[in-house]
Symmetry: C2
Subunit: 427 residues, 2 copies
């Protein structure tokens, strides 16, 4: 039975600190949810002896090894060769993949650089794992070793290519192959507006240690709560449903979605269901709210557009914010936010107008309005809600948190709640 997994990340960018290893935490999270025990994560740079060491140790420690990185077309991409060496297998060129790589380049009107052919090389016996989004496929190699059977899974390091390969090919295969009678199933709640420790207190005692396991994962600005249940396949779905219902009742409106969803997708679904349109007036977020909304396919059906009013002139000319309001209260004020929201709603002809204006920092703060002061307003034909928040953190953090609050306002409004309720942002 496959139980123990090792994650192996390859790339100089990781050992020189140029990027954090987010692939490893993504894979660890998915493996944990599927009931696998991640024994270790090994990270090495692009050197054959180091990659070789890592594979040797990984194959000693885990029944399955999932590797990312080192599949590119350049001379310092060494994973495939090293795996072949460690496994004692020769390399072959898969002609089908070679043709596909050539076609990939031709479709873009380009000639394939010859070194890209390297990405069509695999150790003998490898099962190819297709990559829908890039030229480097992955592969799996099942190997009999002195430690027992080992499953070597090799994926590219580009997260957007790796993630669907893991979820669509590797995890289903692992779950089917692992053996044993117990199954693991999990259910995820996406939350916003409550800190991890407050959430921990909120759900304390809700699920007994013998019933299931609750794990939190903070990926700013959202915290997900994962409930995992394991046991006989016939019982697990019902048990998961019962426990999820208990958790759902506890977490309440802090949960904006369930499963792998995003705040912007939830807002999009609600706007579509209600047949309403939205217009945005963004100051400190600079277009981030619009960007997130338009990340959802089909968002043109409900987003009329937005005005990024970064200067006071634009606030006045394009949004009809009155100069008296700006003079009396400043551009970062609930008063200005209200005029921005009503203005953009009218100018762009939408059902809902949403405005964000604030001080993202690091400069621009005052004693009255320190960095992190952000005002929100939501306007409809019949009502306006507004509120000022004191947020915290760096410039990107303030922007991202502001965009999340703005989207959560629309969600709560559409669900019949008061978005300006002061209890919402609970730390």
């Amino acid at each position: 039975m496959i139980e123990k997994a090792v994650i192996l990340s390859t790339g100089d960018e990781l050992t020189t600190g140029r990027i954090a290893d987010t692939n490893a935490s993504f894979i660890a999270d998915k493996l944990g949810a599927a009931g696998f025990d991640v024994v270790a994560v090994l990270v090495v740079g692009d050197y054959p002896d180091r990659i070789g060491w890592a594979w040797h140790e990984a194959m000693r420690l885990g029944e399955v090894v999932i590797s990312t990185g080192g599949l590119g077309p350049t001379a310092d991409d060494l994973t495939t060769e090293t795996v072949a060496h460690v496994a004692g297998r020769r390399l072959f060129i898969d002609q089908g993949i070679a043709i596909r790589i050539r076609e990939f380049f031709e479709a873009m009107g380009r000639v394939m650089p010859e070194n890209n052919l390297k990405q069509a090389q695999f150790p003998e016996g490898a099962v190819i794992i297709p990559n829908a989004l890039g030229t480097a496929p992955g592969f799996r190699l099942d190997l009999a070793t002195a430690h027992g059977t080992r499953h070597l899974i090799v994926l590219p390091g580009v997260p957007r290519e790796m993630k669907p390969m893991l979820e669509d090919h590797v995890l289903p295969w692992l779950q089917q192959t692992r053996g044993g009678d117990d199954v693991y199933r999990s259910h995820v709640f996406q939350t916003f507006g409550i800190s991890e420790s407050a959430l921990d207190e909120l759900v304390a005692g809700c699920v007994g240690p013998d019933e299931g396991r609750i794990a939190f994962r903070a990926a700013f600005p959202q915290i997900s709560v994962r409930l995992t249940v394991h046991g006989p396949a016939a019982q697990v779905p019902q048990r998961l449903e019962t426990l999820a219902a208990r958790l759902r009742a506890r977490v309440g409106a802090y949960a904006y979605g369930e499963g792998e969803t995003t705040m912007e997708a939830v807002v999009g679904e609600l706007l579509t269901q209600r047949g309403l349109t939205l217009a945005l007036a963004e100051s400190c977020t600079g277009g981030l709210v619009g960007n997130r909304i338009t990340n959802v396919p089909g968002s043109s059906a409900y987003l009329k557009g937005g005005i990024v009013a970064y200067s006071n002139e634009v606030k006045q000319q394009s949004l009809d914010v009155r100069s008296e309001t700006l003079a009396a209260h400043g551009a970062v004020s609930e008063e200005a936010a209200v005029e921005m929201a009503t203005g953009v709603r009218r100018v762009l002809g939408a059902d809902i107008g949403l405005a964000v204006t604030g001080i993202a920092g690091p400069e621009g703060g005052t004693p009255d309005k320190p960095v992190g002061t952000v005002c929100f307003a939501l306007a409809t034909a019949s009502a306006v809600r507004h509120r000022r928040y004191q947020l915290w953190g760096s410039r990107d953090w303030v922007k991202l948190l502001s965009s999340q609050i703005a989207l959560d306002w629309v969600r709560r409004f559409l669900l019949g709640m008061d978005p300006a309720d002061p209890a919402i942002l609970r730390r």
Copy 2:
């Protein structure tokens, strides 16, 4: 001489994917900048056998091992015991530290839980590394092993405690103790508009294997090229400069910046230098260009604002795009882009108007204008440039690539190049 380092991160939160290991990338970056070679990063959960394995391997691979995590007061904090075991040293309680921990709690008006005394335990021979911000000090243990002298450095896992301990105590000690004359220095070029493999071909042979090392890192949509040189401290700066000049000549205008910079920061610097302002008309990017520009502190000095014209009505009403243009050529056309760029420039009163309109997908493509068709226009008082591109990939990818092209257009225009030059996007 101390050259090779291993980073060891301990904690179930890392192997279960609850958080990404940002400590390791922070330490790796600092060690790399100081010329140490990070051989590997090892991450294990809170199990004595796994922590023991990690320390054994780390001491084999590196002359210095820097560990974070596992220094808390609870039963699953096992680092100190494991290090003592691996090193064959007994534990002792440091009375001075024990008193300090008690005082730390008293200062907060609390009684110290007895298990916190665990944080005053150290292996015999340890040199204590003070922690100004928490109760858990770190320590260093110098050890003679079969592999040679090993320096074991143990720090807490809380980033805000660990970071000053590393920078104020560990790095100065390492630099003073390391011995040898060799230093490592690197120089980074940030590029755009050329694929990793084409870039690899472009720079091939430019730096000999004995002169320095070139490493690429693709973090879509930019690819960075890092040149690293090592040797005697007296020679390295000059050698680095010579090689960097050679690389610079090869990479040419594909390099938009040097060092740790971003396209939006470079565009901001150029706009500031020239005293020019910018206005954005975004369709398919939905606010992403504005979001990126406003990620740069001080961008309010040159960004007037933007109009996210997601619907045709907004394009007509807010940007004065003519209905005839939309009827004859469609919203995704160079003609519409030109009217959007000239319109937003005039409406928001900026020196430069920049427009992006395209089909991000997955829906909305036609045989004439498939998904990935994106048109750009840049307008000034005296000229307009425009071009249509056929981009590729998923919705976010098309959006991100479009935003990068849009920003690169402004950069190239400000540098006196033709942004609509068809040779720019070289894959």
